[in-house]
Symmetry: C2
Subunit: 328 residues, 2 copies
Amino acid sequence: MEKGGFAMIRLLLAVFLLATNAAAQPLASWNDGPAKSAIVGFVRAVTEPGGKDFVAPADRIAVFDNDGTLWSEQPMYFQLLFAIDRVRALAPRHPEWKDKEPFASLLGGDVKAALAGGEKSILEIIMATHAGMTTTEFERLVKEWIATARHPRFKQPYDAVVYKPMIELLAYLRDNGFKTFIVSGGGIEFMRPWVERVYGIPPEQVVGSSIKTKLEMRDGKPVLVRLPELDFIDDKAGKPVGIHTHIGRRPIAAFGNSDGDLEMLQYTAAGEGRRFMLVVRHDDEKREYAYDRQSHIGKLDRALDEAAARGWTVVSMKSDWKKVFAFE
Amino acid sequence: MEKGGFAMIRLLLAVFLLATNAAAQPLASWNDGPAKSAIVGFVRAVTEPGGKDFVAPADRIAVFDNDGTLWSEQPMYFQLLFAIDRVRALAPRHPEWKDKEPFASLLGGDVKAALAGGEKSILEIIMATHAGMTTTEFERLVKEWIATARHPRFKQPYDAVVYKPMIELLAYLRDNGFKTFIVSGGGIEFMRPWVERVYGIPPEQVVGSSIKTKLEMRDGKPVLVRLPELDFIDDKAGKPVGIHTHIGRRPIAAFGNSDGDLEMLQYTAAGEGRRFMLVVRHDDEKREYAYDRQSHIGKLDRALDEAAARGWTVVSMKSDWKKVFAFE
């Protein structure tokens, strides 16, 4: 009886989806133009039963970069802003930071000086703020921060500083049988606590950079403790490695915005059959930011040339998007 | 129009599933008894809408060990048999192996002597046979082996030496909204080429041990090359780490057969709400094998004690399973 009841619910759900799908306008925040046409054309081609480009649903894997592709990455990577907030919160427990870089500069409010040491400084800040607690504790810290911190320019929670057209694109792909994954240089555990709610992407479909964890017994219960040791950097040539480790098959569509995504785009393009590669270009200073070849964050240079040379879709935020953010 | 056509297909599919679900007998190869009752009771409890143990579909994560839980692991791990076959195939290209252990003994047919060096010998065999090619080439080698090699006792392809009741269990869980994962000490890339076809588990839901890979350009195309360097051992205390890395949330059900699964079972049990832990016990010498506390392969000792102490379900292959293999 339960079985029958369940099946009936499923059936009703299918009818309901049919009705709402027909009513909802996919890609509503996209202006008509070459980018939108290219997306729709690709999706139609790979989903048309019997068509020459048809791809079975199981192989409809789409991978999305996060920073600069799904949410903003200016004035600096949001995860770095989280880390800086953590340094401030932890400072009372670390009196030695007053005389120790990069912490001293950070606590003095001089972020630029703190980051002058480059990768080494950033790594020190990350390890001091991302390691030394259980995975459950870290998840709670991220959730609290996402709920309370505000973007300096937009005065919105960071998870509202996400691109509405890209969220519509994720939904459009899933409605057409795609499985959507994040493949980001950002921390995998920094994304998982909120991306399911915001992007509809479950934790098991998130690929990112990571530090090592170790199983320990605490109060007779097994917990995973985060260690101050890099495990994997999911950026540049690491992205295809991360894709292979987590997904185990080559995507047929890839979405990025910077040179850090180039290898992921190339790896996707190198598969057989119809493929789709898209680059989001930040050219809208008014509604968001404008930066590309010279930027320290989200530098888009080689990938822009390659997109032009190979006919990949380049999205102009300025002209292709009706709206950038839902809060506009 | 295409959208409408698609929706109609989905609707017809839902009606079809309704009909077949009602007709098919779940867990048909399981004898009525405490193990089957425990499984059905758990699934009913977590899927009953409004029930006190209800779990949302997204959190219905079930993890399965592979060797000894889904397929056999005797007379030795099948992946080791694959490696030995590869050593034989590669021997003409490695004349130096004639005088070098563990290869010399292996080629002389003395597997026992070859493995006398323990973990070190096994690692040498694995690296010599699993690294040095692209991921695509390795996938092809695995597929060829699975298609042609035969189990020494059952004279069947290795992917037929899988437990029919466990395959029914996987399907039963999925029919009830579970997402099923493999979490195995075996090589992730040794499983992915065939587990979707045999278990219905897609590559992105396979967690296993791995060696490192590296992106290289070959003939202008990006490929991933397998390196002779360990990346991750997904066994014992590694299993919760692998679960966390790949799945990112704690399973509510775990299925294993040996002490290598103990930490995974404990980690699953330590979550809040209703949980299900099951241990497959190999006690059927006639239809399969009988081994537990003293076995070198798939040793079941501490996990058996803990299962008894904590009321986890222990499956007797002999008395709980009507059939072990489909080919019987």
